[in-house]
Each structure stands twice: as structure tokens, then as C-alpha cells.
Symmetry: C2
Amino acid sequence: MSYVTDDKLVILGAAGAIGSNMVQAALTLGMTPNVCMYDPFEKGLQGAAEEIYHCAFPGAKVTWTTDIATALQGAKYFVSSGGAPRKEGMTREDLLKGNAEIAAQLGKDIKAYCPDLKFGVIIFNPADITGLTTLVHSGLAPSKIGTLAALDSTRLQTALAQHFGVAQDEVTGCRTYGGHGEMMAVFAGTTKVAGTPLTDLIGTDKLTNEQWEEIKGHVKQGGKKIIQLRGRSSFQSPSHQSLLMVKAVMDGQGYPWPSGLYVNDPANGFNQIMMAMETTLDSNGLHGKMPSGSEADIAALSESYQHLCKLRDEVIEMGVLPPLDQWSTVNPNLA
Amino acid sequence: MSYVTDDKLVILGAAGAIGSNMVQAALTLGMTPNVCMYDPFEKGLQGAAEEIYHCAFPGAKVTWTTDIATALQGAKYFVSSGGAPRKEGMTREDLLKGNAEIAAQLGKDIKAYCPDLKFGVIIFNPADITGLTTLVHSGLAPSKIGTLAALDSTRLQTALAQHFGVAQDEVTGCRTYGGHGEMMAVFAGTTKVAGTPLTDLIGTDKLTNEQWEEIKGHVKQGGKKIIQLRGRSSFQSPSHQSLLMVKAVMDGQGYPWPSGLYVNDPANGFNQIMMAMETTLDSNGLHGKMPSGSEADIAALSESYQHLCKLRDEVIEMGVLPPLDQWSTVNPNLA
């Protein structure tokens, strides 16, 4: 069995459903044998580690610890699912306060223990805000911290494939941007269904305007639907897709979905925020650009941005993020 | 993304923890894009399928159904975790009656819907008995139905690595045989620790006889320990290892651990049973031979066999398996 790299990958929240799945999936994907499992819940962490040992991945050197310094020391990559989970009926925003504080501490720990980090992914909700908070406090360059945003796009792909009765792969170019919440911007212009532009199908018998609105609603409620069906938050798809983000930096082979990244683009009206944009992800980390779309698409993106600004400003008021004009002092890479 | 084969792989019990993990892991391992998810629990099954769709595995054609005929039609491979789960405090044997009936029906369904099956793995407990019951009723050759037995050996490897403070890979040749239950036979003679035969270490300061007995106890209680630590049965290691068994048949690249298989070897005193022996697993399916070991090892194997015979005979008394002398009528491959 060969691995892409020997670099240390830390899974934060490794006792949980997403985290323990990630350890297994990272080894199955052949990313690195050097995986460290961190979680404050020692008993569950030990149990999750034992399961991984019983998998007997050739060459694996999996460690576990409840000490964050030990976990992050020398880390080159991490994924953190280590927030409080969303329960049925909660919005992502309900989680804001507690998880923003966890994110701020994570950022400080990164600054203290692994300033040479190559790439980290934040996936605990609301990820746009926890990712932003982690980045600000970490002192790292914006290319090195991202958030998982792909699931909205893959849910759009799934819903369109089911509507049209085609293979999932035949629905291409699905793109959602902005926040990973109910205010996300679902773009229509980039998607094709078996080669036909989605914009040529919307408003026809094949996909009425009502049906399209319904599909967009499904996408926005995709996470809630999993909770209703399975009785628990999704954990397999966030695990798989966030690891593919890390793998793209490890092997430089690219990543096909949008990611959440730090955006400071006054020309387009987006300032000091983290959200999904059109992104490239490779051995240089994460880089974004303004997506193209119809006027309605861009308006939806602006609305999503405004919603995120409100959440960000709440976190500033809480004292968990510094005022906007002090970010460059805390993190010179944000100057 | 390339896959080893396009053959249909059916995951039975796909709404459960093991089954849903297997669907993700089979696609991550690149086994086949053609995965069918079966479970009688429709809501959970749909939720598990949606999660897999949101993973967006390139080229995947994943279907789900609550109809066993649809599931098995045209299947070339399956893994079944579709029994009742073991709860804290239950022994595997407590599950005997209900799961043996499920296994008998599965065997009949295989006979009816996928007589061209290449290989199937049974992992619901007590797997030695459910695997045997499935095989008898399936009408298939013994090389085509196996049970997962590796976890006892990987648990032995884990426990020895932890005791000696060496990398898991440095503990080689771990072997447990016989039943996958508390009566398993833990062999000492094949194992080396960093190149030193385990038999040279047992009874020394490095591994006292008491410590060795304790480690054997840990191995036998390995599944219970996971339940105590995680609050649930192990699901990641059974998923991963049972898929590697199927992959060995798909790609012919071999499998490094013992498997449970049908044994009818009067010369060695083992008749009409399914249990772990020294096995090869490749594109021809599963083949076994008598393991070599010390007198004590062989005595432990015989004891494990006797225990399995009692369970088998209980299932015969229940009418779920035919009397021994009628097996060849039900399954001519067992003549």
C-alpha cells in the first residue's frame, strides 16, 4: 500500500461520526499513514482508534491524544469536525456562539503549535463563520484554511439527476456559492443536464419554474433531510469531500467543487468574509475568483454575503473576533 | 477514477452502520461503481443512499431497494451485515436463532436470484453459523461463501503491538482459527514480534504467561471492548476487512488474514462446519487448509470446533438447517 505523503494529518473530533469516518477514509484513500486522532472525549476516542487498528491498514502509524498541543505539533494538514453537532430542528446559525469560541481557540492553537501548516479544513457549523474565525486567529495565509462547501453542489447534482432520471455524472457544472446555509446562492448558469444547459430547461415542461424552486429548496434543506431520514446529521459525505480537499493539496491533482475561502474583494463588494466562491485547490492551497452568473444569481450571492456579514458581526460583538480594522494586527496575512 | 470491475456488488443491511460504511468504502477502494444498497428499513436506507450520492463518487451507479429480488438479481458479489445487532451484554450466541433464520432465507434468495454469484461474505453474528446456514441453502460451491474472521487476528496484532510498544506492522503472522466467538483458538506459533518468534517471548520477562493469557483474553473480548468504549458494536473494521475479502476475489491480489470457510475434513476431525482456517482468497474464491500449530493450539482449535458443532446442531434441531446427512440434497456442492 502506498501513500501520497508521510506528512502528519490531524483529525480533530476523531471520536465523532464524521471524524472517525475520516480516519478510515483518509487511510483508504492512501493519503498518509501518519494520522493523529484528537478529541476531548477520551473513551470514545480510544474506541475509535481501536477500530482503526483492527482495520490493520498496512504501514499506518495512527496515534490518538486528548492533548491539543500533542495533536497539532508538527501537523501539516488537519480537518476539524470538532464542534457541537447540529440536532434536528436547529439551524446552523443556532450553533454560532459555542462553535465560534471553539474556532477561535483552534486558531490560537494552530498559531502556537503548527505554524507550518500546509492546509486545514473546517467543517463544523456554521462553517463559514468558524472557518473565518479560525483563519483570523491562526495567523496563516488565507490559502491555507478552507471550509467544506461542496455538499450543496453535490446535493444539487443529486436532485437534478433524480428529477431528470439520468446518471449523476451526466449532471455537470453544479455550483452553489456564498454561505453554506439556507441563504446559499444556487447558480443555474453553469449546470448542464446530459449536455443541455440547465437554463434552457428551466421554465419548460421538463423543469417548470415551480419544480426548479422546489429543487433549490431541496438543496438548501439537504442536510435537514438527512437528519429526518437517518435520525442523525450527515457524516459520510462531509468526511469524504473534506478529505478530497486535503488530498488535492497533497497530490496537486485538483478538486472539482467550490470551497469556502477567505474573500476580501471590495471591487465586487465582498469584504473580510469566508464563503464559497469559484475556487482552485492544488499544492498551492486554495485560491478563488468571482463566479460568473446571471443578474439574479449575483443578487442571490450578494444576499448570501449580507447574511454572513450579520453573523460575522455578531461574533465580533461577542468579542470572539476582533473588530474588522484590527484583523491585520492579529493576522498580518489579512492585511 | 477507475474501478476494478463493473460487476454488481450488493450490500445487504445498507441502512445500518456497517452497511452504509461499506458502500462508501467500496467506492473509495475503487472496487466497482455498480453498488446496490438493500435494507428492509426504507427510510434509513434512503438517507444512507442520499449521503452516498452527496459524496459524488465519479462514475458511480448506486441504487437502493427494499426488494430482495431486485437487489440480488444479477449480483456477482455481496456482503451481508443484515442480521440483528449485538447489544452490550449479549454474547454472539444469543443472536443464534433469529439470525440463523435470516441466513436460511438469504441462502434461498441467492439460489433463486443470483445463482451466478462469484463470492459473498456473511458478517452477521454468530457468523460461523449464519455463514454455514447461508451456504447450505444457497446451493453454491463452498469457495463462494465465506465469513469475516480477520478481526480476531488484527486484534491480536494490535494487542501485541501495544504490549511491546512496536509499530503494528512489526507484529506479523497473527493467526486465530476456529470460531469467531469467545471459543476462538488463538495460535501462538505463527506470530513474530519485530522478527522474534512469539513463542520465544512467551514465558519470559518480556511477555509472562499471565500477560499472554491476558492478551488472549483481550482478543476474545475485543468486540465487547469496542461496545464499552464507543457505546456501539464495531462497524468500521468489519466493513473494511470484509470488503478487502471481496476485493481479493475481484482483483486476484490476495488477502492476508484467515477467513471463515466451509470445512469438511474428516481426516483432521472437522466435519460439515464453517470456521476460520488457514485460507487463500483469490479470483477462484476461498480455499482452506489445516493450520499448523503446537499440540495446545490444535487442542484449542478442536475445542472451538466442538463448540461450533453444538451451535450448528441447535440450528438443525430448530429445523433451520437440515439434518447433516441431507445437506448434499439441499446443496449438491456439499456432497
